[in-house]
C-alpha cells in the first residue's frame, strides 16, 4: 500500500516537473515579435561555463547582437510612432551591428536593470545612456565614452530651483539606479528623494507637482524642459562631468577591444556628430553646442 502511494507520488512529482519544463519551453516560442529577449538565450547556455558572455564569433554565428537600450528615454533610446527603436544610442547600436555583419536584437531596460542584464548575460552590450562610475566599473567593463553629461535640475518656472542649497528640505524626484540618485544620496542628505522606476513616471510626478524638482542628466532635462512649457532647467551642471560609454560583461575583453577599435574608427568619419545631427539636434535645437555633448574617439577634453 505504502509502496503504491510512493510510486504514485513519484509519478505525480515527475508530472509536475514535466509541466514546469513544458511551461518554460512553451514560453520560448512565445509572441516573439513583441518580446525583447527572443529565443537564442536558451541556446547560448549549453556547454559553456557559468554565464560567460558570448564571444565575437558566437555573436556573428547567431546573427544577432543583443543590446540593452532604453525604450522610453527620447531622444537617446525610445520607440518611435511605428514601433521601431530609435535615438542616439540606437543609432550607434545599429552601426555596431552593421559593422559586425549582424542584426540588432533590442532588450528594453529600466535604469536599474542595466548592470544586471550584463552580469546575467541577457545582452552583449548595454547602450542605455550608461554613465561611467567607479561603482559600476566594479561590476561591468566600460568601453571608450561616446558622450558626456553632468547632472541638471528642472523645476517649475514659478518656483525655480537655481542652486542646490534651495533644495534643502524639499522633495526631489529621481529615477532609480541613475547617477542623480547616488549623487544626492551621498552629497545632499538634507534633500528628500522621491524615487521612480520609470522615467515616464518621474516626469509625470513632476508635472503633477508631487515633487519640487526633478534631477537627472542635464541632456535629458534640457530636452524635456524645451518642450514642456512652464518648466525650466535652473541648474545645468552639478557634480563632475561624467562620461557615457557602452558597457559589456566584466572580463569580456574581446568584445570590449572590438568596440574600442570601432569607436576609434568611427571617430575618423565624425560618426557621433552625424549621430547628434540625426537624433539629438531636432530636440535640442541650435541652443546647445554639440561638442558639449558628443565625444569622438573616446577623447574627453
Amino acid at each position: 500500500m505504502t509502496a503504491s502511494i510512493i510510486s504514485k507520488t513519484v509519478k505525480s512529482i515527475v508530472a509536475a516537473s514535466a509541466a514546469l519544463i513544458m511551461a518554460a519551453s512553451v514560453a520560448a516560442c512565445g509572441p516573439s515579435a513583441a518580446t525583447p529577449s527572443d529565443e537564442g538565450s536558451t541556446a547560448s547556455g549549453s556547454g559553456s561555463s557559468k554565464t560567460t558572455a558570448r564571444t565575437l564569433d558566437e555573436i556573428k554565428k547567431s546573427g544577432e547582437l543583443k543590446v540593452a537600450v532604453f525604450s522610453d528615454k527620447a531622444p537617446f533610446g525610445y520607440v518611435d510612432k511605428d514601433g521601431n527603436y530609435a535615438g542616439y544610442d540606437v543609432y550607434f547600436a545599429e552601426r555596431l551591428a552593421k559593422d559586425l555583419g549582424v542584426k540588432v536584437a533590442y532588450t528594453s531596460v529600466d535604469p536599474a536593470a542595466r548592470v544586471d542584464v550584463l552580469t546575467s548575460n541577457k545582452v552583449d552590450i548595454t547602450l542605455a545612456n550608461f554613465t561611467v562610475t567607479d561603482e559600476r566599473k566594479e561590476k561591468v567593463d566600460f568601453a571608450k565614452p561616446y558622450m558626456k553629461v553632468s547632472l541638471g535640475v528642472v523645476s517649475p518656472e514659478g518656483a525655480e530651483i537655481t542652486d542646490v542649497s534651495q533644495l534643502k528640505g524639499k522633495t526631489l524626484i529621481v529615477a532609480k539606479g541613475t547617477t542623480a540618485e547616488t549623487y544626492f544620496e551621498k552629497n545632499e542628505p538634507d534633500v528628500k528623494l522621491q524615487k521612480y522606476d520609470q522615467y515616464a513616471d518621474a516626469y509625470n510626478a513632476l508635472l503633477d507637482g508631487r515633487g519640487d524638482a526633478f534631477s537627472t542628466d542635464n541632456t535629458e532635462v534640457l530636452a524635456w524642459a524645451k518642450s514642456n512649457k512652464g518648466f525650466k532647467v535652473g541648474i545645468t551642471k552639478i557634480g563632475d562631468e561624467d562620461t557615457i560609454a557602452p558597457a559589456v560583461q566584466k572580463g569580456n575583453k574581446e568584445l570590449l577591444d572590438w568596440i574600442n577599435e570601432e569607436i576609434d574608427k568611427l571617430g575618423d568619419e565624425n560618426f557621433f556628430h552625424k549621430d547628434y545631427e540625426e537624433t539629438l539636434k531636432p530636440v535640442y535645437g541650435t541652443d546647445v553646442d554639440p561638442d558639449d555633448i558628443v565625444v569622438e574617439k573616446g577623447v574627453v577634453d
Binding site: A27, D72, A200
Partner: protein, 224 residues
C-alpha cells in the same frame, strides 16, 4: 492641444493591442499550466503522508511569503547567474506565475476536497464505487463547483500581476503605453491619462468576461 488626440495617432492602437496580446499570452499560458499543477499539488496536500504534507506546506508558504517581484528577479537574473540557466523574460514570467498559480490553486483544491464530507466517500463506497470512480464521479464534481469562484479570482489576479513583467523588460501593454507616452511627450504632454485610461479598459475587457463566465456557471450549477 487635447491629450485625447494621442489616441488617434496612427499606430497607437495596433501597438497597444500587440502589447495586450503579450499580456494575455503570458497570463493565458500561466493560467492554463497552473491548472494541472494546482490539481496535483492540491491532491498531494490532502495526503496523510507527513513528508509530502511538509513539502507541499513549505512550497505553498514559500511562494506565498515571497513577493512575486522577488520571485521574478530570482528566476530571471538569479538562475542565469547561479546555473547559467538563461530563461528569456517571458519564460521567466510564465515559470514564476505557474509556480505561484499552482501553489495558490493547490491550496484552493485542497480546501475544496477537504470540504466534501466523509459521508460522500462512504456512501460512494457503499454503492460499490472504487476509489478512482469515487474521486472522479462523486468528489471531484462537487469540489470543482466550490473551487470555481476562487479560482476565477485567482486567474484575474494573474492577469493583473503580469504587469510586473515590465520590470524584466517584457514589452507588454503597460510598457508599450509608456513608450507611446514618452515618444509623444513633446506633442501631447497630457496624453498620459488617456493612454493609461485605455490600458485600464483593456485589462477590464480581459478580466470582466472571466467573472461573467464564473457567475453563470455558479448559477447554473447551484440548481443541479
Amino acid at each position: 492641444m487635447n491629450g485625447a488626440e494621442i489616441l488617434l495617432q496612427p499606430g497607437v492602437f495596433p501597438r497597444l493591442l500587440q502589447g495586450l496580446w503579450v499580456t494575455v499570452w503570458i497570463a493565458g499560458v500561466s493560467v492554463a499550466l497552473s491548472v494541472p499543477v494546482g490539481l496535483i499539488v492540491g491532491w498531494l496536500m490532502t495526503m496523510r503522508n507527513p513528508v509530502i504534507r511538509l513539502l507541499t506546506r513549505v512550497y505553498l508558504d514559500f511562494i506565498r511569503i515571497m513577493p512575486q517581484l522577488a520571485l521574478l528577479f530570482i528566476a530571471f537574473y538569479g538562475f542565469a547567474r547561479a546555473w547559467n540557466w538563461n530563461l528569456d523574460a517571458t519564460g521567466a514570467c510564465v515559470f514564476v506565475f505557474v509556480l505561484w498559480g499552482g501553489a495558490e490553486l493547490g491550496d484552493l483544491v485542497r480546501g475544496a476536497l477537504e470540504s466534501i464530507s466523509n459521508a460522500q466517500y462512504e456512501s460512494a463506497y457503499v454503492l460499490g464505487l472504487g476509489p478512482w470512480q469515487t474521486f472522479t464521479r462523486v468528489i471531484l464534481p462537487q469540489a470543482l463547483r466550490r473551487l470555481l469562484p476562487a479560482s476565477v479570482n485567482l486567474a484575474t489576479r494573474i492577469v493583473k500581476t503580469t504587469s510586473l513583467a515590465v520590470l524584466l523588460g517584457v514589452v507588454e501593454v503597460i510598457k508599450v503605453g509608456q513608450q507611446i507616452i514618452d515618444a509623444n511627450r513633446f506633442q501631447y504632454p497630457t496624453g498620459t491619462l488617456w493612454i493609461y485610461g485605455v490600458i485600464f479598459f483593456m485589462y477590464f475587457i480581459v478580466c470582466w468576461p472571466l467573472s461573467i463566465v464564473a457567475r453563470r456557471l455558479e448559477k447554473r450549477w447551484s440548481h443541479d
